[in-house]
Symmetry: C2
Subunit: 208 residues, 2 copies
């Protein structure tokens, strides 16, 4: 018996890794800007610098690319919430989470818009993930926040609504960037101001 089981699929070559990465990056561009149905394979292929048939050599279909993107995204999206630990100082844990989410909006706006597009359009392809991965984590963290509030460490409120508020505000800066840029033309200053505002807002809200 071999020490390690033979891999079901051979390990991908350098070329495969490179091209799959190029395709996913291009697809993120296009899907996040136009949504699933508004995106075209030709546009993704051109952005990736590959021919369309070549692209379909690496992915079975348009939907396969989209699903792969969403799966990867879901993990990255949950990570900051998972890092909120029961044994830290409650206010610091929550404000830390908020800061992490703000930085994600700044660093990965395309991912944020991809997710927003999918949800706005009724989450047709990510609904199972929402139920199986997000829901349990959401319930767990709600329970945790509730114990913190019961212990008088945080101002009492509905933990679910609190998380909604956090998500709404932090993602707004990525998703509605076009609007923010019109209303606050100096992007760098706007971001600095936003960081400070969001931290202050939730600090005031959460302090008992």
């Amino acid at each position: 018996m071999p020490q390690t089981a033979a891999p079901a699929v051979k390990k991908p070559s350098r070329i495969q890794l490179r091209n799959r990465r190029k395709i996913l990056d291009a697809a993120l561009d296009v899907f996040s800007q136009h949504g699933f149905r508004g995106a075209t394979l030709d546009q993704i292929a051109e952005t990736a610098g590959l021919s369309k048939p070549n692209m379909l050599y690496y992915f079975d279909s348009k939907e396969a690319i989209h699903v792969e993107l969403l799966n990867a995204l879901m993990a990255e999206w949950l990570a900051p919430l998972e890092e909120m630990h029961p044994d830290g100082a409650p206010l610091d844990e929550l404000l830390g989470y908020i800061t992490r989410k703000m930085e994600m909006s700044r660093t990965y706006p395309r991912e944020s818009r991809l997710f927003a597009n999918e949800i706005i359009q009724g989450a047709p392809r990510i609904l199972p993930d929402l139920n199986q991965r997000l829901k349990p984590l959401f319930d767990e963290k709600c329970a945790l926040i509730r114990t913190w509030m019961a212990a008088g460490k945080l101002a009492p409120m509905d933990p679910g609504q609190l998380l909604f508020s956090i998500w709404a505000i932090t993602q707004h800066y990525a998703d509605f960037d076009a609007q923010v840029q019109v209303l606050m033309p100096d992007a760098d200053a706007a971001w600095e101001s936003a960081r400070h505002h969001v931290d202050t807002l939730f600090r005031k809200l959460l302090t008992p």
Copy 2:
């Protein structure tokens, strides 16, 4: 000289009014769910209960329908903000505005998603409106809020960031409804809870 100038276009017939309304309503359904590029004329026509050529008898093109929707929407969208008056009690004026926005999210979720889709996708068709209609109103109301804060009637903060937070949270319930429904299955209870949470949040934030 006639008392009233002859109208450039004859007043629309009952049939025209009815069919244009049916088309715009169907288009709102489809555009808000799939975005501009993801929506198809066939789908809009079928939803409206008209043939595609018949629909194109009332509107010149797909883009014409979309633009008409966005124009009408912009007015409705600005109205609640315009109603925030300088001579009212500052806290009541702002909380009233927030309540109005929450009710709009509840009553017109399709309109909210139409707007969200357009902005997420870079506002290609509504950018002029954003600059010419939203920006002046935004600046005016920011100035008003600033005077209220300077007078000690409200806790001091960046008024622009405050408005962003209001928009983000209130629209979240319409735009991310699919996610909210997964995490809070009882929709009616969720809305009641949301109303209370949002009012409490901003009351606490704004009280000096």
